[in-house]
Amino acid sequence: MDGQVFKKLLEEIAEKIKENRQFLTDLDQVIGDGDHGINMDRGFSKVLEKIPSMPDDVSMCMKQTGMTLVSTVGGAAGPLYGTAFMKAGDAIKGKEEVGVGEAILMMDAAIQGVMKLGKATTGEKTMLDSLVPAYEALKECLEAGKEAKVCFVEAVEAAEAGVEYTKTIIATKGRASYLGERSIGHQDPGATSSLVILTVIRDFLA
């Protein structure tokens, strides 16, 4: 995938986030403060605006997307997703073509960035609960020598399972943590928005 193709992917992500604006907001109303979809849509709408002026370079696009998210999303998701995109971009600096190897590098960097900034790990009912299983499934699948698009299908399945898993646990990070036991039974909005993004990538590659 080169920079031009990547921009198409970014556009589709922005569109799908907009489609899920209400859904993500509704999820956040139950266990958070009801702004996650609004925040993400505000951020990705700005990204969409900026895509034409971004350089045709995946690394640079990712970094600029991250910076745009940081300065438009706000809340917890803004710095976290912003960092994820910036770190991912940084991880493939200088590469003109992005393949499965780069995808692994990017996801790893993104997850490390989120974990460090958010001082969080899996099992805390956050976006990490879909990102980490997706990353692990992807890596395992590719290491098993399977096709990229097959592996992204498996990654999304893992992310879906991760989202389901968030329903069963108490939040210990983010706003949902204030609810204690009341957070059980509800899926995490951030884990869900991560799933939305991963799903777009899967469909893009299919």
Binding site: Q29, D33, V70, S71, T72, G75, P79, G174, Y178
Partner: protein, 330 residues
């Protein structure tokens, strides 16, 4: 959703413009940013910047002025402002003696303000921060995000602002802010939810005989629902939680805030305060100052919170110094 607004996406900027138009003597809006700063910047003093999501009005812009904040950053409704906005506020208010960020303890607020602090430091501006976590509804724990910052933040603004106004250095301003944080506790209940304009529907539902106990200030649900209780029993519940966390007794002195969530008439807050004063008197705790009103709101939510700030002579002195802001005049 019925609100006195134009478009949901313009609520924040229009309200800030309306504030500037009403109180041009006290504050002005930074062109292009959702930031309010003092109309008359005072040189040679430590500057205070606070902020957070919008929807808590008069917080935080209403506390910009003599003796309190120098700048306030307003994010989208209930959404922490972005680092660039905070950074802009810091640059605008810095008067050479450094800037103290007063942050409420939410992941989003902390992350965004810290990013802004990094940006400011790269520009050579001295920045320090304090994190307010007065809400006793949620148990403090090493393994969670800790307690939230809620209405008690106004006391921190007041105390730190007075110290800065005296001309103290950054570390001294930070010290009294942290002393206030260590000594302030808040607990609240809601009788109804509120509606974020862009979301268009209320954050939770309550039966006619239910209330939310231990909620935050972002329209989110509380720690649990409870049957509706008479005002006096609600106060006993709130104060009980506060005293559990910060035991107090005979001879102690405090400041009290009975804070409205935005949609509750002030008459009801006074009914709450009546019981607060009774309990304090029974315990031999001297109430040196009482604030009753909408100080840190959640849009049109109905409900209230009680904050107690345990005072020593220094805090009491700082609390009684003049403040000239929209939200608090002393």
């Amino acid at each position: 959703m019925k609100k006195l607004i134009n478009k949901p996406e313009n609520v924040e900027v229009e309200m800030l413009e309306g504030m500037e138009m009403a109180h041009g003597d006290l504050l002005r809006k930074l062109e292009g940013f959702n930031v309010l700063v003092r109309a008359n910047k005072k040189q040679g003093k430590v500057a205070l910047v606070s902020g957070g999501g919008s929807g808590h009005e008069p917080a935080h812009g209403g506390y910009v002025g003599t003796g309190m904040l120098d700048g306030a950053v307003a994010g989208a409704m209930f959404t922490s402002p972005t680092p660039d906005q905070v950074f802009e506020a810091v640059k605008a208010v810095d008067a050479g003696k450094g800037v103290l960020l007063v942050i409420k303890n939410y992941t989003g607020d902390v992350l965004n303000f810290e990013m802004a602090a990094d940006m400011a430091e790269m520009e050579g501006i001295k920045v320090d921060k304090v994190i307010v976590n007065d809400d006793v509804a949620v148990m403090n724990s090493l393994y969670t995000t800790g307690r939230r910052g809620v209405a008690g933040t106004v006391f921190v603004h007041k105390v730190a602002g007075a110290m800065a106004e005296r001309g103290a250095e950054l570390d001294e301003v930070k010290r009294v802010a942290e002393k206030a944080i260590a000594n302030v506790r808040t607990m609240g209940v809601a009788l109804s939810a509120c509606t974020v304009p862009a979301a268009g529907k209320p954050g939770f539902a309550l039966e006619e005989d239910e209330m939310e106990v231990g909620l935050g200030i972002h329209g989110e649900p509380g720690t649990h629902k409870s049957k509706m209780l008479p005002a006096d029993e609600i106060v006993d519940l709130l104060l009980g939680k506060i005293f559990e966390d910060m035991p107090m007794g005979n001879g102690d002195k405090v400041a009290v805030m009975v804070n409205g969530c935005g949609g509750t008439p002030v008459s009801e807050l006074y009914i709450l305060n009546r019981r607060v004063a009774q309990v304090m008197a029974e315990k031999g705790i001297e109430v040196k100052k009482t604030l009753v009103g909408d100080y840190m709101t959640s849009l049109e939510m109905q409900g209230g919170a009680v904050s107690v700030l345990k005072l020593d002579d220094e805090l009491e002195g700082l609390l009684n110094e003049p403040a000239d802001t929209v939200g608090l005049k002393i």
